[in-house]
């Protein structure tokens, strides 16, 4: 009879390639970052000096504030809007066609999207053309506080379709017998959604939250291509700072900041996981 340990070892060859890849391309560079976060540019041990410098850095604080605000605004908006849309769509015909259309924004190349943005939102763009033709004043969408909301809009537009599909996949997993039984028992649509669908979608919510949270960092590409390395203060995100520190050879601060950000994300993900596990029990 094969022991449990031997059984586990049988899976090892399948896990090894992935494990090696993650170790070489993720864990080891991160280990190097941890090392660098404790030394000076000359290689001398500096204790928590780099962390202190990073936390006191005004640009870092601004970037953390903006990134947190962006995530705090985008995540509930995206999750809420996509849930409503998926509830409305799940009963429609031609669902396959709709799914395909919903994935279009995700497939569009970032460079093309950025060009469309510029056409729409630049000072001499399409929207300003309409605004000024109606007698209004020019709005500096990309060089004022409005840039934040443009970025929020872009994030939601790009990720909405994908998130809707995730919700719809989750909904498809709920047995129709339960909802039909509820209807026969006289439950209203809102009650079905709040009492049956939503509780059954908790695992999907967890997945969507994590994916949307990670995707919120990817919006940097659009922000960078539209406004460059030094955009308006309101859309100056952590990735701008990391990018500029890397360009400026400011590796110690960058290492300390990346360890800090990683720690925060790790704690947030663990807490979310624990909270979900608790509710499952």
């Amino acid at each position: 009879m094969m022991t449990a340990r031997k059984q586990n070892l049988r899976y090892l060859p399948f896990l090894l390639p992935g494990l090696i890849g993650v170790s070489v391309f993720r864990l080891l560079p991160f280990a190097d970052s941890i090392k660098r976060s404790f030394v000076t540019g000359g290689g001398r041990f500096s204790g928590l000096g780099n962390y202190e410098t990073t936390i006191n850095n005004e640009a870092f604080r601004l970037a953390v504030r903006n990134t947190t605000l962006f995530t705090a605004v985008c995540l509930p908006l995206l999750i809420g809007i996509s849930f409503i849309i998926s509830c409305a769509l799940c009963r429609m015909k031609y669902i396959r066609l709709i799914r395909t259309i919903l994935l279009f924004p995700l497939a569009a190349p970032t460079a093309a999207l950025v060009m469309v943005w510029r056409i729409l939102f630049s000072d001499h763009g399409y929207i300003n053309g309409i605004v000024t033709s109606l007698g209004g004043g020019e709005i500096h969408f990309l060089t004022s506080g409005a840039a934040f909301w443009v970025l929020v809009g872009s994030y939601i537009w790009k990720n909405l379709g994908y998130t809707v599909i995730l919700w719809m996949t989750g909904m498809a997993g709920i047995p129709t017998s339960i909802t039909e039984a509820a209807r026969i028992d006289g439950a209203r649509e809102m009650q079905i959604i709040t009492r049956i669908i939503m509780p059954n979608l908790r695992p999907t919510l967890y997945t969507i939250t994590i994916i949307s949270f990670l995707n919120s960092f990817k919006v940097f590409r659009e922000a960078y291509l539209v406004a460059g390395a030094y955009p308006h203060r309101s859309i100056y995100l952590l990735q701008h700072l990391f990018n500029n520190w890397f360009t400026g050879l400011d590796l110690q601060k960058m290492a300390a900041a990346s360890v800090l950000v990683f720690s925060v994300i790790l704690v947030a993900a663990t807490l979310l996981r624990k909270a979900w596990d608790k509710e499952e029990i």
Binding site: S23, L28, D32, K35, R233, N244, F246, L249
Partner: protein
């Protein structure tokens, strides 16, 4: 046990990623066989043989014609010394025994240059009725004038057929009638040569091969067309490639990258001489012609009259004992020159020079690549810090303190310390500049006293446009970005020292004023003209200045970039100055600013510090500093002695410059002269007093340029542009 193994394995893995090797010497690599470089002696008294012809073969021997002395030259038996050719070359063109000059029987015109010659004919340019025309003469005494007034190339084939190229394309010339028969309708801007019955011509985009025996075009191998397309230097005014017949039916091509060999029916290009480690790769060399001698030696002439000979030595052993890595953000001619000289003098060192912003790479991407190199243990030993954030490099301890090694790199003759060692903090020297430019301004002598700032300059441009509206660009600036760069030369230090909203608004408004008024709005920039050679717009001063010697309302701004064709022209123009234009070094009388050029630093992370310091020493020698690339005055005291001696030793070989009105056809000539003793003393005193380096990092400059562009196109007001820049600079400072 498990824990210990895990920790050990982790440490091993991490050490491979983060470990730094301190080994200075690369593994020795031994290569047998190679070409030795030797300069061919030119034992005749002349300073610059700029009018030397290409090489041509007569009786199986190489010859060339030199227009300044109007003589034909050949070489001694082992091609080590140039000899004046005394024998009759062709019937009708003979040397005068008393003067050595060549008379030209049978024609009233005067030979100004020989384009090509063969055993039986010679084609030359001549001056007749105040215009250049082209004639050929055969050994039977037939003289014919060509129906073309602007020949670019002329080449004889082995069997004596003559092919010429002009603005209409390539034609064959009938040696009987002089008639032109079109062959290929391409204007060969990159090269044209007849080699082994093949006419090879290339323009910017395409390469053509014409079989002159079969009378038809052949397919061009892909590797050949890609070779020409990938190596054309659009900024150079010289031909990019020289071709000649090689060994065993092959063709040799000479360009800045070296000498290459290919077989017309082959499928690959082979490099036989590397431009990086030989003089032909130096940017100031500009190969003019190449010829392979019967004994296998290759001779290459330059535009300035230097002739190099390359001889293959099968026993030559090149041992690569170490490697020196050099990096700059942009390609720099001075640095290329120094790299070439150092590499050819130190063949045991593998010198690799890389620059970041190639093929359209952005500053940000170039810097990321640079950072990656530093992180991956591939740090360059020497970096040229021009355009980089120098303060940041100093603060991050990336640069080595050179003051500790002064005995290695400080030249015997000493340096202009203020300008060479400007990057000195607390007695630590972080970089040494090889050259420096001096800001200057020129205007009508009644006005120049009132131009003391960038704002005054902008107002003067506006006044000239409003009062006179000349049909040309007043400052001769072609690139709108150069307005900001020009402003930064004059006001950059003051602007960035105490940056305020008001100052930034004023600066951007001045750039806008110049941009709006500099160009003739009706004719655009078409009346402007580029400098020769190409000098970045914001530094171009002298050429604009002397273009105003005849016209009124002259205004020039930029920098003086050395002696030859720069400072000596400023000195030489007083006798033809009809317009009353005057120049002044510095933006105002108290101004002591300069633009450091090619500032070299040794990196802390580099692995070959010893050779890096020797490289620095090589860059600062008087010999190296004498070479001018129109990129600034030298910093070596000895190099000044060389330029000042030219006044006494070369006053017989004066260069002449033509000055033409930009309004009409009026023109005049003036002689270029070098500074005399009084002028030397005055210039030296001034240059030694310069103590305010103008150093602008690329990021700040591009922020202001971007804002100005929006302002110039009407998207933003100067106030909004200033706010945008301030916001960006604020973020940058906080980082």
């Amino acid at each position: 046990m498990k824990k210990a193994s895990f920790i050990t394995a982790s440490m091993l893995l991490i050490s491979t990623l983060t470990g730094c090797s301190s080994g200075a010497v690369a593994e020795t690599l031994s290569v047998r066989g190679g070409y030795c470089e030797q300069e061919v002696m030119f034992p005749y008294n002349s300073y610059i043989y700029a009018s030397m012809s290409d090489f041509f073969e007569i009786g199986g021997e190489p010859y060339f014609y030199e227009g300044e002395t109007e003589m034909f030259y050949s070489f001694n038996n082992d091609v080590t010394v140039v000899e004046r050719e005394g024998k009759k070359l062709l019937a009708g063109i003979e040397e005068d025994n008393s003067t050595g000059a060549h008379s030209h029987n049978g024609s009233s015109s005067h030979i100004t240059g020989v384009l090509a010659a063969s055993d039986h004919a010679v084609i030359y340019a001549c001056w007749d009725n105040e215009r250049t025309c082209y004639e050929f003469r055969t050994d039977s005494g037939v003289v014919r004038r060509l129906d073309s007034d602007n020949l670019m190339y002329a080449e004889f084939s082995k069997d004596g057929r003559l092919f010429v190229a002009d603005k209409d394309g390539i034609s064959e010339v009938s040696l009987t009638t002089g008639a032109l028969t079109p062959v290929i309708s391409v204007v060969p801007s990159a090269c044209m040569a007849v080699v082994n019955d093949l006419l090879i011509a290339a323009d910017k985009d395409n390469t053509h091969i014409y079989d002159i025996k079969e009378g038809k075009e052949k397919n061009v191998p892909k590797y050949l067309s890609e070779f020409f397309r990938g190596r054309q230097d659009e900024t150079s005014s010289f031909d990019s490639f020289q071709l000649c017949e090689g060994d065993n039916g092959s063709v040799y091509i000479c360009c800045e990258d070296g000498i290459f060999r290919f077989m017309p029916d082959g499928n690959q290009m082979e490099q036989i001489i590397d431009g990086v480690v030989n003089t032909i790769g130096n940017p100031s060399f500009h190969a003019k012609s190449i010829y392979r001698c019967e004994n296998g030696a290759i001779i290459v002439s330059s535009e300035t009259g230097k002739i190099l000979k390359y001889t293959y030595d099968p026993d030559m052993v090149s041992e690569i004992t170490s490697e020196l890595k050099i990096y700059s953000l942009d390609k720099n001619d001075t640095l290329s020159q120094i790299v070439g000289d150092f590499a050819s003098a130190n063949r045991n060192i593998k010198v690799s020079y890389q620059y970041g912003r190639r093929n359209g790479t952005s500053y940000s991407d170039a810097m990321k690549e640079f950072t990656t190199r530093m992180l991956s243990g591939d740090a360059p030993d020497i970096i040229m810090i021009d355009g980089m954030d120098i303060q940041n490099l100093n603060e991050r301890n990336m640069l080595c303190d050179l003051s500790k090694y002064q005995d290695v790199w400080m030249p015997e003759e000493g340096l202009y310390e203020n300008t060479a060692l400007w990057n000195r903090i607390d007695d630590k020297i972080y970089s040494v500049s090889c050259k420096f430019r001096v800001p200057a301004v020129a205007a009508d002598k009644k006005k120049i006293g009132s131009i003391k700032s960038f704002h005054d300059l902008a107002e003067e441009v506006k006044r000239i446009r409003e009062d006179e509206d000349p049909v040309y660009s007043i400052l001769n600036i072609w690139d709108p970005e150069a307005y900001v760069k020009l402003g930064m030369i004059y006001e950059g230090n003051e602007l960035m020292k105490n940056l305020s909203r008001e100052k930034l608004i004023s600066f951007i408004s001045d750039c806008e004023t110049i941009a709006k008024n500099d160009i003739d709005r009706q004719n655009g920039m078409t009346i402007g003209f580029p400098s020769f050679p190409i000098i970045p717009n914001e530094y171009e001063f002298t050429e604009t200045y002397y273009s105003y010697l005849i016209d009124k309302n002259g205004l020039a701004a930029g920098t003086v970039n050395g002696f030859d064709n720069e400072y000596n022209i400023l000195l030489s123009t007083s006798d033809v100055n009809q317009s009353g234009i005057e120049y002044r070094l510095g933006m105002n009388d108290d101004n002591r600013s300069f633009v450091p050029v090619c500032s070299l630093a040794v990196t802390e992370a580099g692995k070959n510090r010893e050779e890096a310091l020797h490289f620095l020493a090589s860059a600062l020698t008087a010999d190296s500093q004498k070479i001018e690339n129109y990129d600034g005055f030298p910093v070596n005291n000895g190099a000044y002695d060389f330029f000042f001696r030219l006044y006494r030793s070369h006053n017989v070989d004066l260069e002449y410059f033509a000055v033409y009105s930009r309004n009409n056809d009026e023109g005049d000539f003036f002689e270029e002269r070098w500074p005399n003793t009084t002028e030397n003393a005055s210039l030296t005193k001034y240059l030694k007093s310069l103590d305010e380096p103008i150093v602008t990092d690329y990021v700040s400059l591009s922020m202001i340029q971007e804002a100005f562009e929006k302002c110039d196109t009407g998207v933003m007001t100067p106030e909004q542009a200033a706010d945008a820049v301030l916001g960006q600079l604020d973020l940058k400072m906080k980082e």
